[in-house]
């Protein structure tokens, strides 16, 4: 019964989102794309967090996907749409290889290393002048789909849908038990037959692939990027803030957080062009102090409180 209602709500939301371009102009659609991109990043970050691993490398994989897609078009003459697929797979392959090293680390050491990886990607692309365009970045011959606002919106929506679908699968499948067990206690997880490294590698590779995919979509939608744009720390910090605000360890939490903070950030950007990130910081501090389980956790407690 409850499940049917959830499916119905999800279907209605999908239809509304899909027909939105018929009613909105170019600017609101652009805001929607920005919100959807951050939402996908927030959900993918949370997916890895469910195993207890806190990544600070979202921007790194996002930027990697961006550059992979842009360079495939520029240097290999690949079709932009095809480049999205290859850039996504390439990011996944790189994450898989890196996973063998970084997933030996835990807690703070894992977090710091992912942060450093993002920086390394940025510095490498910054300095490979002939290949990556160096600090000036790359300019593509054109924007994908001729820059039509609805098409760009649907492309971003497709990326988000793939991410949400994967997150939903993570929550419903046996993977969920393994990741939750690893987060709770690794020794007990091992003793219950969970191959910890395998599941962490799956989670890390899949979430990195999703982040790379959103990066590739972003670069093809704007037609240019620079190391400072593609690896912008905001791509790490905003998704993190959104997931924390909405409530971690779920799909719904990061979605709610991204809608609220995404729209608020657009508004704040107009009101306080140079200080809006300060407001962000304040929100994160307040959320962690006052509702560590986020909005979803708060709602759950309310409901449990009413029942009791």
């Amino acid at each position: 019964m409850k499940r049917t209602a959830t499916y119905a709500a999800a279907a209605i939301a999908a239809v509304v989102l899909a027909v939105l371009p018929a009613f909105l102009g170019a600017y609101p659609l652009n805001v929607a794309r920005s919100v959807m991109t951050y939402m996908a990043l927030a959900v993918s970050w949370d997916m890895l967090l469910r195993s207890g691993q806190i990544s600070f490398g979202i921007a790194g994989l996002f930027g990697l996907g961006s550059y992979a897609s842009a360079l495939l078009v520029l240097r290999a003459g690949m079709d932009p749409v095809l480049s999205l697929v290859f850039a996504t797979l390439l990011t996944g392959a790189i994450a898989y290889a890196l996973g063998f090293a970084v997933l030996r680390l835990r807690a703070m050491y894992f977090s710091i290393t992912t942060l450093a990886l993002a920086e390394i990607f940025r510095i490498v692309l910054h300095n490979l002048h002939d290949f990556s365009g160096g600090p000036e970045g790359v300019v593509l011959p054109g924007v994908i789909f001729g820059g039509a606002a609805p098409a760009l919106y649907w492309l971003c929506l497709a990326g988000l849908a793939i991410t949400l679908g994967t997150s939903w699968y993570f929550e419903r499948s046996k993977l969920h038990l393994a990741l939750t067990a690893i987060r709770n206690d690794e020794t007990s997880a091992r003793a219950s037959g969970v191959d910890i490294f395998k599941y962490l590698l799956v989670a890390f590779t899949v979430t990195s692939t999703l982040q790379g995919m959103m990066g590739a979509i972003q670069v093809q939608s704007y037609g240019f990027t620079t190391p400072e744009t593609a690896f912008d720390a905001n791509f790490t910090l905003l998704p993190l803030a959104m997931a924390l605000l909405g409530g971690i360890h779920s799909t719904l939490g990061p979605i709610a957080g991204a809608v609220l903070l995404g729209i608020a950030s657009e508004w704040l950007k107009l009101k306080i062009p140079y200080g809006h990130l300060v407001v962000y910081g304040i929100i994160i501090v307040l959320v962690i102090l006052l509702m560590p389980r986020g909005l979803v956790g708060l709602a759950r407690n309310r409901r449990a409180g009413r029942r009791a």
């Binding site: 067990a181 206690d185 003793a191 191959d195």
Partner: protein
């Protein structure tokens, strides 16, 4: 023999803990008793692959499992109830039990029967089925941990100090359940609570300073002058 350990040497860093330990378990329940620091937990960690043995061999069910990865040993049929940090505190009883079977091939397709058996053994878990384990009492948590291990349909159940931190009445209850279990599954239990454990197992080994100093039937060990003097306070 279900478990056969021969000449096991093991330790941490440069510090040897176990010296040439040999031990075997058939279709029976066996207690491993000894004081703090004797090497009981290290022995269990070596069997379950949580620490790498330095030398010697561990054979389980006719197969050499020396130095195998923990999850492989678990899948082969050894279920461990670790000391203290034994549960997934953020998960419900139901999820903890489901997890016990989820990744073990020999438990696949029998989950319902195994669950039924666990709930029959620990009826309290039926009442608390949807409760988050972290909010339960120590004794109930220990029961969840044992039940979760049983969900793996093990051939050998290893319990590391099941009485630790429990009140005496719960300790007897846990051991009563274990004596019921030993019909179906071989049991290795480490204990400092020598009296309770010798009452409910078939055989025992006494481990001191990393070496086996005594072994025999539980009833004989309970009467042994050394055991009486050192562990039973007689």
């Amino acid at each position: 023999m279900i478990l056969e350990i021969q000449g096991l040497t093991c330790g941490y860093g440069k510090l040897p803990v176990l010296r040439d330990v040999s031990l075997s378990i058939g279709a029976e329940s066996v207690a491993l008793i000894g004081p703090n620091g004797a090497g009981k937990t290290t022995l269990i960690n070596a069997v379950t692959g949580l620490v790498k043995p330095w030398g010697g061999s561990i054979r389980f069910d006719g197969r050499d499992v020396t130095g195998h990865a923990t999850h492989e040993i678990a899948r082969a049929g050894i279920a461990l109830v670790p000391q203290e940090r034994e549960l997934f505190p953020g998960m419900t009883v139901a999820d903890n039990l489901a997890l016990g079977a989820a990744y073990i091939p020999r438990a696949q397709g029998r989950e319902e029967r195994l669950l039924e058996q666990c709930l029959r053994l620990f009826p309290i878990l039926k009442e608390r089925f949807r409760q988050i384990v972290g909010t339960m009492s120590g004794g109930q948590q220990r029961m969840v941990a044992i039940a979760r291990a049983l969900m793996a349909n093990p051939k050998l159940l290893i319990l590391d100090e099941p009485s630790l931190g429990l009140q005496p009445s719960i300790v007897s209850e846990v051991f009563d359940r274990l004596s019921e279990l030993k019909k179906d599954v071989a049991i290795l239990v480490t204990e400092q609570n020598v009296k309770e454990s010798l009452r409910s197992v078939d055989r025992g080994y006494v481990l001191e300073n990393g070496a086996v100093v005594l072994e025999g039937a539980a009833s004989d060990l309970a009467k042994d002058p050394h055991v009486e003097a050192s562990y039973l306070g007689l």
